[in-house]
């Protein structure tokens, strides 16, 4: 089983590389990581310059940006573009192979379906780990240059929580990809699942989205958000359940 997993993971990673998905994810996450502190730094100047001459006599007072603003900007960028990338990169992973007839060819070989799902998830997890690591490194360096370096341990805790949140999105998208009979229906289902997940954050502190608030509070030493260990447990649980459901559904599915 482990040997086949290794073979399949190698295939998935090669595919991400050859189809340029890996490059796209690395470039987007690194780009937004680098841009976050820069945007935080120049935003007051931008607003000031835009406001000049527009409203005579009105004085706009914008507080000097800080390290906290850079971290807020990073969280905002990763939560938007990371979410988009996580869904786009994984919703077609299984539905697409089924639709293109690749699954019918491959499942006649000794490739257990749970290994197929596990390799897809692992490859996505590795790709996003690399992207997030590069983005976080870029953001850290620029934050240190433009403001001052955030405490490394706290910053890593924020990135770790972001990563767990992204893994949950990937697992849900893969579940949608398994359930959807076509790429279109898988995409629609992934959208519904992610919207439901985001909406859950407005109703309960156990929702995965609360991890980002918690991570922010850790990184900026704020008391605004208490520890969300239960949200972390729920997020890991949702991801594990989505993964297990993908395996179970695919195992029972008839392949055309």
């Amino acid at each position: 089983m482990m040997r086949v997993f290794g073979v399949q993971l190698r295939k998935e990673l090669t595919e991400l590389w050859r189809t340029r998905k890996l490059i796209i994810v690395l470039a987007v996450l690194t780009g937004f990581g680098l841009m976050s502190p820069i945007l935080a730094k120049i935003t007051p100047d931008l607003i000031e310059s835009l406001g000049e001459g527009q409203m005579e006599g009105v004085v706009i007072t914008i507080p000097e940006p800080t390290q906290k603003d850079a971290i807020d900007q990073l969280i905002k960028n990763i939560s938007q573009f990371g979410l988009l990338l996580a869904v786009l990169m994984s919703f077609g992973a299984i539905a697409g192979e089924r639709e293109r007839g690749q699954a019918a060819l491959m499942f006649a070989h000794p490739l257990p379906r749970e290994v197929f799902v596990a390799a897809k998830f692992a490859a996505q997890a590795i790709m996003f780990a690399a992207g997030l690591a590069l983005g976080a490194l870029g953001a850290y360096i620029y934050t240190a240059i433009l403001f001052n370096a955030p405490p490394l341990g706290r910053y890593l805790a924020l990135i770790g929580l972001m990563y767990v949140w992204l893994l949950c999105l990937i697992a849900l998208s893969l579940l949608a990809s398994t359930l959807g009979r076509s790429m279109g229906s898988a995409g629609g289902l992934a959208f519904v699942l992610i919207v439901a997940l985001l909406l859950a954050g407005t109703f309960t502190n156990l929702a995965p989205g609360k991890l980002l608030e918690w991570g922010r509070a850790i990184a900026i030493r704020s008391d605004d958000s208490p520890a969300r260990w239960r949200a972390l447990a729920v997020t890991v649980g949702v991801a594990a359940l989505a993964f297990a459901a993908s395996c179970a559904v695919l195992r029972r599915q008839e392949i055309d």
Binding site: V7, E15, R100, G101, L105, H109
Partner: protein
């Protein structure tokens, strides 16, 4: 020495019965042609055999391994429209398949050579024609050297040269492995199969050795051909034959006349006498073609399955 044993194979999709519970067995090392019109249940049967679909009832045993019960039977499978990873080269794809099977020294080059893809082994599969993909599909099925090869419409997408090449390869596999293939191209089945099963509306209509089938369904028919300028005399002959009591049908086609007899012995004696003063180019007794048998059997919708051994 049975390689494939199918018992009471049934598949229903809601209210639709795709396979109505049939039995079939295939001898080890033989080439078995699974024939049927579109929608007869050929692909559904093959998908169940390959473990891609589940039977509603019944079972399939391949080389002693029951399909869908955990262990994987020793099969190679080619679906009707195989989907590949377009970003891989043919050689990379076969290497990936070999690694999945845990083959330490896979005969990749020999397999590419065998299917006629040796020259394009380093080309990306995304640029392959449908025929080349079909050949690569055969290569991936052959690579692990399975004991049973399941091929779903392996020649339907190919041009005549490609079909001949594919059938030649299948012919070479006789005795080496059991080949079970579906097709609706009857000439191909007639050319390469040892044994034939005909399925219609989810029921097995007949299973028999090809030669037995052709002999059993031999038609009492013959064809007469006259010199090119003798069409009017041939038409007159057709009328005279029609007037006799021992002719079922006399069909004229230019300078050829196809005659189906009610009484073949009498037809042989009397028709030859009637040709005495005609410039006959050819007189040939016609054997049955698989097409005739196929059409005859598949038009009998509720025929009972028959096994001729």
């Amino acid at each position: 020495m049975t390689a494939i044993e199918i018992r009471n194979l049934t598949k229903r999709f809601g209210d639709v019965t795709a396979l109505a519970g049939f039995d079939l067995s295939v001898l080890r090392g033989s080439i078995f042609g699974f024939l049927g019109p579109n929608g007869a249940g050929k692909t559904t049967t093959l998908r169940i055999m390959a473990g891609l679909a589940r039977a509603t009832a019944g079972r399939v045993v391949i080389e002693g391994v029951e399909v869908g019960r955990g262990a994987r039977p020793p099969i190679g499978y080619l679906p009707d429209t195989p989907g590949f990873y377009g970003w891989m080269t043919a050689r990379e794809f076969l290497s990936y398949i070999a690694r999945l099977h845990g083959l330490s020294d896979p005969p990749i080059d020999a397999t590419l050579e065998r299917v006629g893809l040796a020259d394009v082994g380093s080309k990306r599969v995304g640029g392959f024609s449908r025929g080349m993909k079909q050949r690569l599909g055969l290569a991936q099925a052959l690579l692990p050297q399975p004991r049973v090869l399941l091929l779903d419409e392996p020649v339907s997408a190919l041009d005549p040269a490609g079909r001949k090449a594919m059938l030649d390869i299948m012919g070479e596999l006789r005795g080496e492995m059991t080949v079970f293939f579906s097709t609706h191209i009857l000439g191909d089945a007639e050319r390469v199969c040892d044994e034939i099963g005909i399925i219609n509306r989810g029921r097995l209509v007949i299973q028999a050795r090809r030669d037995d089938l052709l002999a059993r369904f031999a038609r009492p028919a013959f064809e007469i051909e006259l010199a090119p300028d003798e069409a009017p005399r041939l038409a007159a002959l057709a009328e005279r034959l029609d007037a006799t009591g021992w002719i079922e049908r006399a069909a004229l086609d230019g300078t050829r006349l196809r005659v189906t007899a009610r009484d073949l012995d009498r037809a042989r004696r009397e028709a030859l006498a009637m040709l005495a003063d005609l410039p006959v180019v050819r007189f040939e007794m016609l054997g049955a073609t698989l097409e005739d048998i196929f059409l005859s059997l598949t038009q009998q919708a509720d025929a009972q399955p028959e096994v001729v051994r």
